[in-house]
Amino acid sequence: MKPWLFSLLLVCAAPLWAGEAAPNAEDPVIEQRMIKLAEDLRCLVCQNESLAGSHAELAEDLRREIRAQMKTGKNDQEVIAYLTERYGDFVLYRPPFKPVTYLLWLGPLLFLGLGSAIWYVTLKKRRGLKNEPVDEKNLAAAAQLLDENK
């Protein structure tokens, strides 16, 4: 067989033994629930990573804890309560709507309102400007300047 043909066949054959990765958790349902929940939680060590995606040791411990609690039948709300009791609202990527977070949640609306107000006032002002007739003298001066540059 020609070498190039052999190589091509080898490449084509690769998908044959590419099976699906076996789920490494014993319970895929709980694993999925845990990951879905952990995606909305902050890793306390690498603060810009979610708890689901972080490789920090604490994140692993917390994922194990979430799994264990789900296995004992706790619902998502109870697991979140367990974490906020210990780490505060900081652990949540979606902070709850309460007095200290009013500005956080309503801030964008506030800025939208402010922007709209400025926009409205500007437009209103612009409408007030009239097309004033052009002064004949200025027009002649402009024509002369343009001619000079020719």
Partner: protein, 173 residues
Amino acid sequence: MKRWIPLLVFLVLAGFLAKGLFLNPREVPSPFIGKPAPAFSLPLVGQPDKIFGPADMRGKVWLLNVWAPWCVSCRQEHPVLMALAQSQSAPIVGLNWKDKDREAEKLLAEHGSPYAAVPDDLSGKVGIDYGVTGTPETYVIDKDGIIRMKHIGPIDPDVWKNKIEPKLKELGA
């Protein structure tokens, strides 16, 4: 008036950014301030048949210092803690967090121990119950077992003098 607006906007923005620059993102507010220290019972390092719990410290103002032999900034903190232990301002309990290599006993024998007791939290679960995110972290706990303050990161002489010592005085240590 109008030409000052960009400068004004710039100054406001610069103010916010400057503030942000000096905030410490590690300084996560602890939900435990003013709440009872979570109970636990753990064996002591070197004396596995003895069990320690926060209830043992009732009636004293004390420090719970979460540390680990593998933690580099804990070593930086160690001499400061040694000096504090000598000054006897408050007993320090050193929670040995996730010491998988079992090095705490040897390390403390070598370098000296500032701790009144060293409970052994091998699984790290007690640390999680206290909302520990990384060692070292130190809690100030009052006579009734209420957490009054949490300090994240190593204690240096400055932190001690300006933050922890005044709190201890206030609590009547």
